[in-house]
């Protein structure tokens, strides 16, 4: 399996804080790689650094073999990277339709793709002309993910999509991402919800204090309760 995304020795400073302290990771093509870790471990910073929203102070980031660590965010997005931030960041003053029109950068909205999205998130069809700011948290998250997949992307960077959502909506999101995965998408997914991580992940990376402290298969971590407790301070049973 070839690696679509590779980070080697990536350091990121935010102000005087040294957040990423030499990250080495690889995201294989066509697989879902989970990025786990405690709060403040550097997961969000890793996604933002890949996306160019924060500049890496040193190290290499390559996408399909092309170096991207010095490229601007729009150029990285144009290489086919979709980003779903933790804050959802829907444009609340714009309607659901307008949010998706903006996300479909290369042309008009594709009806087939829209129907596929509406299959998972029927609320988006119902509130097509409503302002995104008036949607519930779950609906905003659906819109945020829909925005990232409205056009085919090489790589999806998704930051804690299930955070603070009701269980029914979490299940809908998991089903959607499973379908995206079936279509062959490559995903780097930050997640605190271990149930969702276990359901979706092929591989797992665990971060602590700005470094990767564990890498392996998700199934192996899910089966190893002592390892979960050591790495994440949790046991799978506690989350079932």
């Amino acid at each position: 399996m070839t690696d679509l995304l590779k980070l080697s020795g990536v350091h990121t400073h935010i102000g005087r804080y040294h957040i990423l302290q030499g990250i080495d990771l690889a995201v294989p093509q066509g697989q879902v790689t989970m990025l786990l870790g405690r709060n403040g471990a550097g997961k969000t910073t890793t996604l933002r650094t890949i996306m160019g929203l924060w500049q890496a102070s040193s190290g290499e980031i390559s996408l399909s073999g092309d170096r991207i660590e010095s490229r601007a965010t729009p150029d990285i997005a144009r290489l086919g990277v979709g980003y779903v931030p933790e804050s959802m960041a829907v444009f609340s003053d714009l309607t659901v339709k307008e949010n998706l029109v903006l996300a479909a950068r290369d042309g008009p909205l594709d009806d087939t793709q829209l129907d596929w999205i509406f299959g998972f998130f029927p609320a988006l069809r119902r509130f097509w002309l409503s302002r995104a700011g008036s949607l519930s948290g779950g609906q905003k998250q659906m819109l945020s993910i829909a925005r990232a997949i409205i056009e085919p992307r090489k790589l999806l960077l998704i930051d804690e999509p299930t955070k603070g959502l009701a269980p029914a909506i979490v299940m809908a999101l998991i089903e959607c991402m499973r379908e995206i995965k079936r279509k062959g998408a490559t995903i780097l997914l930050v997640e605190q919800n271990f149930f969702a991580a276990r359901e979706l992940g092929d591989n797992v990376l665990v971060m602590d204090n700005g470094t990767i402290v564990h890498r392996g298969e998700m199934a192996a971590l899910a089966a190893d309760v002592p390892l979960q407790e050591r790495l994440l301070g949790l046991s799978l049973e506690a989350h079932q």
Partner: protein, 336 residues
């Protein structure tokens, strides 16, 4: 956490009309205080005209604030430069300005206004590239750089045109008033109101009916996410900055004609008004800027008529009152 399920009906979004009603309520409230209907109508027409001119000058600044998070204290330079550039066209054609024909007047005025917009817009390009680009995200440096830029611009105008006030007479056909019974409404004020309304409608159409407008509105709210969708927002910033500068130049021409004079520091007082308008309207909100400009002009005109001594502080009081009611302005667009 209370959570709506995906299929739950949404509460209907409320249309926020309170700010729109504010100038209407203020105008109606003034009728008994002013006493004379004709004086009230004259003052209201004057407020609308003045408000439209301030709106034209402030609209670019509010978008620059909202979209680019740039504190441009040098915005007034575009106003003064616009007015001075117009004199370059109007002075050699003084005879055409004094002609009785509206069309001959406009044949000189329109190119003067367009040239002013072009020069102010081009100056905007230079200012954005030279002064603002190096200090994006650094508010204190932006204030220092743009204030310095304003001083340099003013002194350059002094050096080129001298310290004297340059007269800029109104074209003959725009002098005088339309008389309705005992109400007189100055012709130029009607024209200024119409131009302001046309610009407001044009901006609204661009913002609400085009992808460019979508990008601007989205960028005002969350620049970072617009970039993450693959749009090079810096180019959009530059376009908005130049358009805002060009509109300030047009506003400068209109204000100079209103006052019938041009001088290098003409924008000093206006800048204060413009900042008040941008703040009370809500940073980045064109609708808020429009209403804010009318409110500021109404308070200046009604206040000046009723309590002249209050005129100096009336707009500050207005700003305090609005911000106590809505701390992020009439229409909060950004989270700043």
């Amino acid at each position: 956490m209370t959570e709506l399920a995906a299929n739950d009906p949404l509460p209907k979004p409320k249309r926020d009309i309170a700010p729109i009603l504010l100038p209407v309520a203020l105008a109606l409230l003034m009728i008994p205080l002013i006493g004379s209907t004709s004086s009230w109508l004259t003052l209201t027409a004057a407020s609308l005209a003045m408000g439209m001119m301030i709106f034209i000058m402030a609209s670019g600044l509010t978008l620059v604030f909202g979209l680019m998070d740039v504190l441009n204290f040098g915005h007034g330079a575009f106003i003064a430069v616009g007015a001075y550039v117009a004199t370059l066209v109007l002075a050699p054609f003084a005879a055409s300005i004094q002609a009785d024909s509206l069309w001959i007047n406009l044949a000189v005025l329109a190119p003067a206004a367009l040239l002013s917009m072009a020069v102010s817009g081009a100056l905007g390009l230079v200012v954005e590239r030279v002064l603002i680009l190096p200090v994006y995200g650094q508010h204190l440096k932006q204030i220092l750089m743009t204030t310095g830029g304003l001083i340099v611009a003013e002194q350059t105008l002094y050096a080129l045109w001298g310290p004297q006030i340059i007269p800029m007479p109104l074209p003959t056909s725009l002098r005088g008033s339309f008389i309705f019974g005992d109400v007189a409404i100055a012709k130029y004020r009607v024209l200024a109101t119409l131009i302001g309304l046309a610009i407001f409608i044009a901006i609204q159409l661009v913002l609400n009916r085009s992808k460019l407008g979508l990008l601007i509105r989205a960028g005002v709210e969350n620049r970072e996410m617009v970039e993450a969708l693959g749009y090079r927002i810096r180019r959009l910033f530059l376009g908005v900055f130049m358009t805002g500068s060009a509109l300030a130049g047009l506003g400068g021409v209109m204000w100079a004609l209103y006052r019938e004079q041009v001088h290098a520091s003409m924008s000093d007082d206006l800048t204060v008004l413009i900042f008040i308008v941008v703040i009370i309207g809500g940073l980045g909100s064109i609708g808020g800027c429009f209403i804010g400009a009318i409110l500021v002009a109404m308070v200046a005109n009604y206040g000046g008529f009723l309590v002249p001594k209050l005129a100096l502080v009336s707009n500050i009081l207005l700003m305090v009152a609005i911000l106590m009611w809505r701390p992020r302005g009439l229409y909060a667009v950004t989270s700043r």
